[in-house]
Symmetry: D2
Subunit: 261 residues, 4 copies
C-alpha cells in the first residue's frame, strides 16, 4: 500500500508540532511512601515534521503511548518516551504533556481522621536532539481564604471561600519533587488548608485558624512565592492563586513567574 | 435525488426522540422593564419518528430554528416552533430546550451601585398533537451561605462560601414568570445575596448580614421551597441548592420537587 | 459542642435529597477476565431528611465513602454503602451515583494490535428501607457512522463522523453485565467500531467496512435497541446515539427508552 | 473605614498579575457589514501590583468593565479600558482578554440557503505605561477533513471528520481584521467548509468536494499558514488545527507560529 504520508511536500513549511491529543490512558505514579498510585491521564504527544514530508505517522504515537502506559511514569520515563517517538518518527524535537488527578492523604487537624484529597497534577516534557529534557511538573491544591478587608471593616464575621494554588515548576536534574511535599507546603499558604473529612471539633479548629489568619489572594500568592523559593532544587516556577469569591459570581486571582538562583 | 430518509424501515421500532443538539443561535428575551435582552442559546430540538420511516429530515430542524432565531422568544414562540416542526416533519410529538445566560441588574446594598449578574436560565417545552404545551422555565442564581454549625462552635468567624439555587418550574397558562422576580425572591434565600460590584461599605454590610443569618444548605432549600409556594401561578417546581464548600474540595447539596395546590 | 444539625426544624418540609457531590475517589472494578481495574470516580451520595431535623451530618457521607473507596465496587457494594449511610444517618432512603472512565481492550481488525479504549461508565443505585436496591449501569462507547443519504446522492465518497452510543440499563438481580460485553455488542452498532490503534491495513479495512455499512443515527439507535433486547437479563434500558456531524457544527441524535419483557 | 489593601507590604514581592476572572458581560462587536452583534463575553482583567502595597482594589476592575460593557468593543476600546484601569489603580501594566461566540453567515453552496455559524473568538490586549497596545485577535472555525491515506488505500470511501482551525494573530496598527474575512479564508482550508444548513443538493456537493480534496491535518495547517501569510497587515500568527478523528477516540493536531515580514 502506498505511504501517502511519505510523499514529498513542496509548500516549504516545516511543521513545529504535529501529533495526538485527547488520549486517555492509565499510568502509575510513585508515592512518597514508596507505593504506586494508578492515575487516569489525559495526554498530548507531538513531534516536529520537516518541510519535505507530507505527513507524520499518527499510529506510532499511540503505539509508543500504549507501550509505556499501565507502567510507572516520571520525568525519566518521559525522557525515554520522547526519545522513543523521535527515533520512530525520525524527528528532531518531541513534546508531551499529561494531566491527571493525584490523591494526597490529609489528616483532620484535631481528630486526626484520614481522608484523600484530589489534586490536579501534570507532567510535561520537551526534548530536542542532543539536548537535555526540559521537564515541568504541575500541581494544584485547594485552600480556604478569609478576606482581611471584610474582617477588618465588619463588626463580626468575614467572608471566606475556596480557592486554589496552581504551580508549575522546573527543578535541578537530580531533585525529586514529591506531590506530597507540595501538598504540605502549598496547602498551608491559604488562611487554612482544605480537608475532605472534618468532624465538629475539626471544623471549630479550621474556622478559628482561618479567621485568625485572613489573607488576600495577593497574600496567598506572595507566601506561595516565598515557599517555592525555599524548596530545595527548584530552578523556575509559576504560581497562580484563584479565589472563587463567596460574595461575587466571579473569581479574584494573582499570578507570578520566577527563575530561581 | 433519492430520498433515503423516506425509505420504509422494517425493524418495527418507533423512535421516541430524534433531532439536533449542540446548536447555538441568538434569541431575544423580553425583560421585565419591557426592553429586549439578546441571549446566546444552546439548543436541542427533537420529534418522534414513526416506525415505518428510515429517518427524519435533519435540515428542517435547522430551517425552523433559523426562521425563529434573532427574534423574541418565550413560551408562546416555543409553542409555535414545536407546531412548526411537527407540521414540517409530520410528527406527533416535539420537544425543545434552550439554555442561556441572562443578566439581571443588582444594586449594591449600601452605595446602590448597579451591576449585571449573569444567571444560567433555560426554557423547555414538550408538545403532542392535540395537547397543550408543557412548558418549563429554569433559573439559577448564586448566593453566599454562612455555616450555622461553624458559627455556633467557633469562638469567632464562621466558614462561608458561594452556592447556587437552581429551580425548574411550571406555571398556569396565563402567568408570566419574570427572571427579575425569581432573582429577587431566590437570590435572597441564602445567608446574603451575591453582587458583582461592592464597595467597602457594601462589603461590611454583606459580611454582617450573612453572619447574622447563618444557613445550612438544607435551610436555604427549605426557604426556597417556601418562597416558590408563595409565588403566584406556579403549579410545579424543582429546587436544588449546592454549596461549593470552602473547607472541603467537594459540594454539599439538597433537592426537592413539589406539585403545588 | 452543640449539635446544630439536630435542632428541631418547624418549617414542616421533609427534604427529599441531601448529601455531597463533586467528590472524587478511587475504586476497583472487576474486569470480565477476573482482574481489577482502578477507576477514578466522581461521586454523589444523598439521603432523605425528615421534616423535624434542621440538618443532616455531612461528614458521615465522606466517612462512608472513605471506608469503601480504594476497594472493589459493584452493585453489591453500592447496596452495602446505601445501607451503611441510611443506618448512620437514620434515613429512609439513600441514593448514590458514580461516573468513571473504564478501559476496554480493542484488537485492530487486521493486524490484531491491541490498545485500550476509554469508555465513560456509571453505576447508580437507589434504596428505600425495606426495598431492594434499584441499580442502574451506564455505558458509553464511540463508533464511526457513514451517512446513507450522502453515500446515495454523491458520485463518490460519503460524509462520516465519530458518534457515541450511551446506554443506561437495569438488569435481573443475578445477572452480571460486563462492560466488555457491552463494548462488543454496542461498539458494533455504528457503521464500524472505533479503535485507538490502527495500522494502514486496518485503516483500509475500517474505511471499507464503514462505507459498505452506511447508517443514519436513527439506524444505529434502532440496531442498538434490538441488541439491548437480545442481551440476557436486561429489564429496562435507555439508549441515546449522538453523531458529531462532520459537515455541520452541531450534532444529530436519537433516543429511546424501553421496559423489557 | 480602614483601607487594608493600602497597607504596606514588606515581603518585597511585586506581583506581576492581579485581577478578576470568570466575569461575564455583554458587549457589541461591529460586523463587516456595519451592523452590531451582541456577544456574551467571558473576561479576565488584571494589572501589576508594586511590592509596597498589600493588595489591589478588586471592585475597580468590575467598575471599569461595567462602564464599558453593553457598548461597542474593539482593539481601540480595549486600549482605553486598559488605560482606564491603569489610571484608577496606579498600575504600570494591564492586561485583558475576552472570549465570545460570534456568528458568521454561511450560504449553502448550491441552494444558497443562509444560516448562522457559531465561531469561538477572542480579543486580548496587554499595555505597559508608555508603550503601544499589544493586541491579539483569536478566531476558531470548523471544517470537514477527508483523510488522504484512507482514500488512497481503500477501494471506496474515505474516513472524514469535523476539525477546527484556531488562529491567534497580531496585525499592523491600522489594519482591521474582520471575523467575516477570517471565516472565508480559514473556513476553506479543510477538505470542505462546514455549514449549519444544507439541503440534499448541497450535501451531494459538499460530499463530492470533500472527497476530491483529501487533506491531512498537516495539509490543512500548511494551507492555513499560507493563507495567513497572504492576509494583508498580519505581523504575527499562531495556527492550530485539530481533527476529531472518526476512526479513533482521540484527536490529531498540528500547530505552527510565525512572525511575518
Amino acid at each position: 500500500m502506498r505511504d501517502v504520508q511519505n510523499l514529498i511536500d513542496e509548500r516549504g513549511i516545516a511543521i513545529q508540532k504535529v501529533g495526538v491529543s485527547d488520549v486517555y490512558l492509565p499510568f502509575l505514579i510513585k508515592t512518597k511512601s514508596g507505593s504506586w498510585q494508578t492515575v487516569l491521564a489525559e495526554i498530548e504527544l507531538m513531534v516536529d515534521l520537516p518541510q519535505e514530508f507530507k505527513g507524520t505517522h499518527m499510529s506510532r504515537f499511540i503505539e509508543v503511548l500504549s507501550d509505556w502506559s499501565q507502567k510507572p511514569i516520571s520525568s525519566n520515563e518521559i525522557k525515554l518516551i520522547l526519545r522513543d517517538i523521535m527515533q520512530r518518527l525520525n524527528a528532531q524535537r518531541a513534546e508531551m504533556s499529561m494531566k491527571f488527578k493525584y490523591f494526597v492523604e490529609r489528616s483532620a487537624p484535631v481528630t486526626g481522621l484520614k481522608s484523600l484529597l484530589d489534586c490536579d497534577c501534570s507532567f510535561s516534557g520537551i526534548m530536542e536532539q542532543g539536548t537535555e529534557l526540559d521537564f515541568m511538573l504541575g500541581f494544584t491544591i485547594p485552600y480556604t481564604s478569609v478576606c482581611p478587608c471584610s474582617k477588618e471593616i465588619a463588626e463580626y464575621g468575614a467572608h471566606n471561600q475556596r480557592g486554589v494554588i496552581k504551580v508549575k515548576l522546573r527543578s535541578e536534574r537530580d531533585t525529586i519533587i514529591w506531590f506530597e511535599d507540595l501538598a504540605d507546603v502549598l496547602g498551608n499558604q491559604g488562611s487554612c488548608p482544605v480537608y475532605p473529612l472534618l468532624k465538629r471539633e475539626d471544623e471549630k479548629f479550621v474556622t478559628e485558624v482561618a479567621y485568625e489568619n485572613p489573607k488576600f489572594v495577593e497574600d496567598i500568592l506572595r507566601d506561595a512565592v516565598i515557599s517555592m523559593r525555599e524548596l530545595t532544587g527548584i530552578t523556575w516556577f509559576e504560581v497562580e492563586c484563584k479565589n472563587y469569591e463567596s460574595i461575587h459570581n466571579h473569581s479574584a486571582f494573582a499570578a507570578h513567574t520566577e527563575t530561581v538562583g
